[in-house]
Amino acid sequence: MATLSTDVLVIGGGATGASVVWDAALRGLHVVLADRADLVEGTSGRFHGLLHSGGRYVVKDPRAAEECIVENRILREVAADCIEDTGGLFVTTPFDDPAYADRFAQGCRDTGVDCEEVAPAEALRDEPLLNPRISRAFRVPDANIDPWKMVWAMARGAHERSGARILPYHAAVDVHRRGEEVTGARLRDVRTGEELDVEARVTVNATGAWAGKVADMAGIEGVHVIPGRGIMLAMNHRLVDTVVNRCQMPTDGDIIVPIRTVCVIGTTDVHTDDPDDQTVAQEEVDALLDDGERLVPGFRRARALRVWTGVRPLFEDAKEDVRSTRDVTRAHTLLDHAERDGVGGFVTITGGKLTTCRLMAEETVDAVCRHLGESRPCTTTTERLPGSETGEYYHLGERLGRREDNLRNDELMCECELITRGKFEEALRRRGTDNLGDFRRTLRLGMGPCQGGFCIYRATGIMHGIDGMTAEQANEVLLSFLQERWKGVRPILYGDQLRQARLDDWIFQGVLDVGHLKQ
């Protein structure tokens, strides 16, 4: 059995876990990050990409709003390359309580969320597809943020600064307890079955919606995280270039976020028992389409690209003695298990939203330092992530501009997302993986309108050609991609996307006949 020794073991490679790793590394600690799947495969990779201004919470949860606007400004400083400064709008549609708008404006003033009221005509000039009957409009500093870019920048940065070990595809199968002390965990590489023991002075449970399961492994009771499942729809192109919110109390389907080449509408809220629940109910899809129509008339005529589920972690403390919960804010929850349960070397951080991941990490690493008996200051408010050194925001046209510079040098293998063969081969070499899904997330391979119709054959062919793969492995890659993609399109297979799916069937079954590849 291989072993690894470290100061801090972080289980959970989403935005929170990665932020903890980055913060800890900056403070000079050695860190290991483990996730049972690829990084950002959980909740962080399944939301709409919104960098909150806080406007959403100014009435309902002013504390959360204050946190959001502060963190919004900090992230713009330190993670600019991951952020596209789209700006945001809150609009009062005919379906919203007109009285809310004034409460909203007051709430922004009270919480420090920058807010400027504009005439509806001006909002409509900027966003011509918005409901023409909006009666009020407010500008706020919403933006979008790319969680993959951010997390991988943090991972890279932590590795460069203090040799952090980043271990995707390593599931925690056991958390080690020695008496009243957690001393680390056993990890299993899900691809090979090999196991690895990690000895850590402190273990951080940053698994979000799965936090209860990991806490159970450590023998700690009562960490109940209720998964709140919601679906989101990506529409084929940006119907709006600004984040658009309904000006009302937060509810289902009240936001459209332009992110990369798509715009995402979300979300719904269905309680479930299982954080791995990925059901998509037809009624939820229909409801979101109706919600879309309210903000953007004609929404149902636009093309829906893909639907997916995300699970929000909603923490409920089942322990009587709440005094010990370090509940700095109702928005997220840090459980210092030394205080709460008398078990040292273990903290759980859960709840929250991606916008506040840096703050959550700061509190977590402060707790870690307490466990270590050391005092090390946090520097994540000012330290820029790798890639964000210039402080320049991301612009959507960047990929197109890069392609234009390279037109004669390299072939495009994924045309929708402008991925060149060179870039794909480089990513293959770097990641050394045979899971096309990993490239879906980082390169956005197969995430465009054709949903892999053209690029997946190319990708598989390239992988087989340079990777020393067998044909069986390549076939498996291809077939599992097709099945995985089918899951995301099946519930929204109408209109243009159905046409696309039929063309893709033509290619895969008619021309390539992949269904009859020798098993």
Binding site: D126, P128, T261, V262, G397, L400, L407, G453, R499, L503
Partner: protein, 411 residues
């Protein structure tokens, strides 16, 4: 208003299923890597374009605007129209060169050239002068430039009055007829009159298409609306608008409304509904049994090329069906999408070679057809064809005129 229409066209990108059919038909991307193709420049790149962000591309400038992609797209994506918007944005950002401003205004050139036709034509044939023009302005030294007519079409039209028959059409004769080929105009009028039409020829200016193709949208709007103001009163009075230049009639029919966002102008709307290509009109006449078919035999083998913007009308190739009525005339349908000139595209220094390569397939077919004559509805295509193949090229109307044995135009 313009932006809304822009959004409507942008919305059509949702129909793109990346099938590559547009790429198979694009005459430019098939011959040069400088243009990655209509699928790339249109629905694909459009997803990366944000309204108020600067343009990051240069390759869309190589799109010639022929519109074949939109024609063949089985899903209804307005590819060429999306490209036109992107091109315009690029040009606004980078500035429109003097050359483009100049060649986009054929009436300005025409007004300068016609009074001094002999001198102007001689200059255009002077090699040293052409080389200088290429260096200074950027028009390729070998580009097919037409010769100015000594007297404009208008000077004849002013003195011409059509017999009153009660069946009125208003003739939109286009700049080509006005300054370079007035005889084509005279023959068009004669053929229409032979078929019982009273032809009104008001004073008129450019339809604005070259300005639009060169990204000068505001100027293009001025011109096309001016044309609409001239033609609309006739249309309101029950007359049809007839043109012999298929690019210009397409501009009036739909391009101005779609690309320039003039959907709501009532004059233009009326004009667009009443505009006919002359062959289109004559064929419908024939369908009703009303076309004069007193054709004398014409013993010629003629190859017919439908210009890309004729195909853009979506009416098939009425010229073919008309020419089939002429006894003795053997018509060979050419099977190419584009001659390459695409209006003003092919005369530009940096695009001339691309244009000639794009048209190569057509030129080969013309030679292989062994036709003595090439019929084509667009004057810029005719000039390109003559330049590349040395074969005489005529408007299909001219063959009908000949078959009717109508008197040769004078003055």
């Amino acid at each position: 208003m313009t932006e809304v229409l822009h959004e409507l066209l942008r919305g059509s990108l949702d129909h793109c299923v990346k099938c590559t059919i547009c790429e198979t038909a694009c005459p430019v991307s098939n011959v040069t890597p400088l243009f990655p193709g209509p699928k790339y420049a249109g629905p694909q790149a459009e997803r990366y374009r944000v309204g108020d962000e600067p343009s990051v591309e240069w390759s869309v400038d190589y799109c010639s605007g022929c519109g074949i992609c939109t024609q063949v797209c089985p899903q209804g994506v307005k590819i060429a129209e999306i490209n036109a918007q992107a091109r315009r944005k690029l040009k606004q950002q980078n500035g429109v060169p003097l050359r483009d401003r100049l060649i986009a205004r054929p009436t300005v050139i025409g007004r300068l050239g016609t009074p001094t036709a002999r001198l102007a034509n001689a200059s255009l044939r002077s090699r040293p002068l052409r080389i200088a023009v290429e260096r200074v302005i950027g028009i390729h030294r070998d580009a097919a430039l037409p010769g100015f007519a000594r007297r404009s079409f208008r000077s004849w039209a002013r003195r011409h009055s059509s017999p009153a028959t009660g069946r009125r059409v208003v003739y939109f004769h286009n700049c080509g007829t006005q300054y370079y080929e007035p005889d084509v105009g005279k023959k068009t009028v004669a053929v229409l009159e032979h078929n019982g039409y009273q032809v009104e020829i008001p004073k008129q200016d450019c339809c604005g298409l070259p300005l639009q193709s060169n990204g000068l949208f505001d100027d293009a709007r001025k011109y096309v609306l001016k044309a609409a103001r001239v033609l609309a009163p006739y249309a309101r009075d029950g007359a049809l608008v007839v043109g012999n230049a298929t690019s210009c009639t397409l501009m009036l029919k739909r391009e101005a409304r779609e690309i320039l966002g003039l959907e709501d102008d009532p004059d233009l709307k009326l004009v667009s509904e009443r505009t006919y290509d002359v062959c289109e009109l004559l064929l419908e006449l024939h369908d009703r049994g009303e076309l004069k078919t007193d054709f004398h035999p014409v013993d010629e083998v003629v190859a017919y090329h439908a210009p890309c913007q004729q195909q853009g009308h979506g009416i098939g190739k009425p010229a073919l069906e008309l020419l089939a009525l002429v006894p003795g005339l053997e018509v060979r349908e050419l099977d190419a999408h584009c001659c390459g000139i695409a209006g003003t595209y092919g005369i530009k220094r940096e695009k001339y070679d691309i244009a000639m390569a794009a048209g190569a397939d057509l030129f080969d077919q013309i030679h292989a057809s062994q036709a003595g004559l090439v019929a084509c509805d667009s004057e810029t295509c005719r000039w390109q064809i003559e330049h590349a193949t040395q074969k005489t090229s005529v408007h299909p109307l001219e063959l009908l005129h000949r078959a009717y044995r109508l008197p040769e135009p004078t003055g």
